[in-house]
C-alpha cells in the first residue's frame, strides 16, 4: 500500500494552547480516508499542517514524497477550507474559471468541475446568492479543477441534503478509483462508514487509525459512533495520569 501522506510526531500550538500532541499517522494513496472527531478536536489544524499553511512546533509532514507546503505540491494538492473560500461577488462560473487559470487550465476544465459537483444549473449565479450547501460545492469545484493527486476536504458535506451528500461520496469514491487520494474530515459519525480508512482524533490525539471494519472489530460493536465512544474510554483508562 502506497502512502500519500505521512505525519510523524506532529506537535502544533495555536496561541498558548497545544492543539496537536504528537500525532503520527499515514494516509494511503488512492483511497478515501476519513478524519473524524468532534468539533475542536484538531481536525482543521491537522489538515492545515498537511496542506502546508500551518506553522508547526515540531514533527514532520510528508505529502506525496515531499515536505508539506513545498512549491511543487501546489499543483498536486487541492484544498477546500471549512468555510467556503470562493468569491461571493463572482458567479460560480467566474470563480471556477479564475481557479482554472491559476492551474493553467481552460474554461472547459472549469465547466466540467461545475458539472461534477452538480452546480451546472447555478453556474451563472453569484456565489453570494447561493445556499450554504451550494456555496460549499462551488468551493469544492474550484479545488477539483486541477485534477490534483490529493484532495484535502475540510467538512465538505456539512449542510448538504442527503441525496447530494450521497452523490458527493459517490464522486469521492469515483475519484479514488481513478487514483486520487482523498482526505475528508467530518464530525458526523454516520459518514465514517463511507470511508476506506478512518483516522479518529480527539483533543489533539489520535485514538484510532484503521479501516472501519477493523475499528468495529477492535471496539466489538457494529455502530461506529459507539465504537468511537469505546475507543475514547479505552484511551482514558490506559492513560497514565501526569
Amino acid at each position: 500500500m502506497d502512502t500519500a501522506i505521512e505525519v510523524r510526531d506532529l506537535v502544533v500550538d495555536r496561541g498558548r494552547r497545544r492543539v496537536l500532541h504528537g500525532i503520527s499517522c499515514a494516509v494511503p494513496a488512492g483511497r478515501v480516508t476519513g478524519l473524524l472527531g468532534p468539533s475542536g478536536s484538531g481536525k482543521t489544524t491537522l489538515i492545515r499542517a498537511i496542506v502546508g499553511v500551518q506553522i508547526v512546533e515540531s514533527g514532520t509532514v510528508t505529502v506525496l514524497g515531499r515536505p508539506a507546503g513545498s512549491p511543487e505540491l501546489r499543483r498536486q494538492v487541492g484544498y477546500v477550507t471549512q468555510a467556503p473560500s470562493v468569491y461571493a461577488d463572482l458567479s460560480v462560473r467566474e470563480n471556477a474559471r479564475y481557479f482554472a487559470t491559476l492551474y493553467g487550465l481552460d474554461a472547459h476544465a472549469a465547466d466540467q468541475a461545475i458539472r461534477d459537483v452538480g452546480l451546472a444549473d447555478a453556474a451563472g449565479q453569484l456565489v453570494g446568492n447561493l445556499s450554504g450547501g451550494q456555496r460549499s460545492r462551488a468551493s469544492l469545484a474550484c479545488a477539483m479543477i486541477g485534477r490534483p493527486g490529493l484532495l484535502v476536504l475540510d467538512e465538505p458535506t456539512v449542510g448538504q441534503d442527503p441525496v447530494l451528500r450521497a452523490d458527493l461520496w459517490a464522486k469521492f469514491h469515483a475519484l479514488a478509483a481513478e487514483g486520487t487520494t482523498l482526505l475528508v474530515s467530518s464530525h458526523v459519525m454516520d459518514e465514517a462508514g463511507r470511508c476506506d480508512r478512518l483516522l479518529l482524533i480527539r483533543e489533539g490525539r489520535l485514538i484510532g487509525d484503521d479501516s472501519p471494519a477493523a475499528i468495529r472489530a477492535i471496539a466489538g460493536t457494529d455502530d461506529l459512533e459507539e465504537a468511537f465512544l469505546r475507543l475514547i474510554r479505552e484511551t482514558e483508562r490506559t492513560e497514565v495520569p501526569a
Partner: protein
C-alpha cells in the same frame, strides 16, 4: 511571477468590481462631484480653484484607492480566499501586481472622468497637458493601492482597516503643500514632508499647472511616486505568509 496569473487576477478583481455597480458609480462620480463642490466654494473658476482642484485630482484617487484596496485585501484574508490562493501555483507578487493593475485601470477611468469634468465643466485652467494630470492621478492611485495592500496586513477587521486612513493618508495631505507651502514649513516638518510620497505627486501636479511642457522635476517626482509604490508592493509581499499560526 507569471504574467498569465497576474492578468487573470486583475481580470477577476475587475469582474468583482463590475458586479458591484454601486461601488463603480461611487468610484467614478464622487471625485467629479467633490470638484464641483470646490468650484462653488471658490466662487466659480479662478486661480485659487485652479491650484486646489489640480491638487485634488491627485489626492482623490490616492485616498479612494487606498481605502478600497485595504478593504478588498482584508476580505481576501478574512474569507479564507487568501489562504486558499497561497496553496495554488499563484505567486505573492502575482496577486499584488494583479491588484495594482486592476485598481490602476479603475483609477484611469476615474481620473479621466474627473479631469474631463474639471476642464470642460468647471473651467480648470493649467499651462500643461491634461493627459499628464491623468498620468499623475493614475500613478498616485497605484501608490494608494500599494499602501492599502501593505496596511491591510496590520488590520484584523474592516473596522481597524478604515482607521489606517487617518494614520496614512491625512498626515500626507496636511504636509503635501496644500495648506502651507512646503518651503514655508519649519525644517523638521519639511524633512517629514520630504519622505512622504504624496508631496512629490502634488509637486508634479504643480509643474503641470505652471509649465506648458513636461519638466525634469515632473518626471523626477513621478519616478519617486512610482518607486514608492513599488517599495510598498514589495513590503506588502513580505506581509503575505503562506504559513500562519
Amino acid at each position: 511571477m507569471s504574467v498569465r496569473i497576474t492578468l487573470a487576477t486583475s481580470g477577476r478583481i475587475l469582474r468583482q468590481l463590475r458586479h458591484d455597480r454601486r461601488t463603480v458609480a461611487l468610484l467614478i462620480l464622487v471625485p467629479a462631484l467633490l470638484l464641483s463642490l470646490l468650484y462653488f466654494m471658490y466662487d466659480d473658476a479662478g486661480p485659487t480653484f485652479d491650484r486646489i482642484a489640480l491638487i485634488m485630482l491627485g489626492v482623490f484617487p490616492f485616498t479612494i484607492m487606498f481605502l478600497v484596496t485595504s478593504i478588498a485585501m482584508l476580505r481576501e484574508r478574512t474569507t479564507g480566499t487568501l489562504e486558499r490562493l497561497l496553496t495554488t501555483p499563484l505567486g505573492k507578487v502575482d496577486l499584488l501586481f494583479g491588484y495594482g493593475l486592476a485598481f490602476g485601470l479603475a483609477a484611469a477611468v476615474q481620473g479621466t472622468v474627473a479631469v474631463a469634468a474639471a476642464y470642460w465643466l468647471l473651467g480648470l485652467d493649467t499651462a500643461g497637458n491634461t493627459g499628464l494630470v491623468v498620468l499623475v492621478a493614475v500613478v498616485n492611485a497605484v501608490l494608494g493601492v500599494a499602501l492599502g495592500l501593505f496596511c491591510s496586513a496590520f488590520a484584523r477587521t474592516e473596522f481597524q482597516a478604515v482607521q489606517f486612513l487617518p494614520v496614512v493618508v491625512l498626515p500626507q495631505l496636511l504636509l503635501c503643500g496644500l495648506f502651507v507651502p512646503r518651503g514655508q514649513m519649519s525644517g523638521w516638518l519639511q524633512a517629514v514632508s520630504d519622505v512622504m510620497p504624496l508631496s512629490y505627486a502634488v509637486e508634479a501636479l504643480g509643474q503641470v499647472g505652471a509649465h506648458a511642457d513636461p519638466t525634469a522635476t515632473l518626471w523626477r517626482d513621478l519616478a519617486v511616486v512610482a518607486g514608492a509604490a513599488v517599495v510598498a508592493l514589495v513590503l506588502a509581499a513580505a506581509t503575505l505568509r503562506r504559513r500562519t499560526p
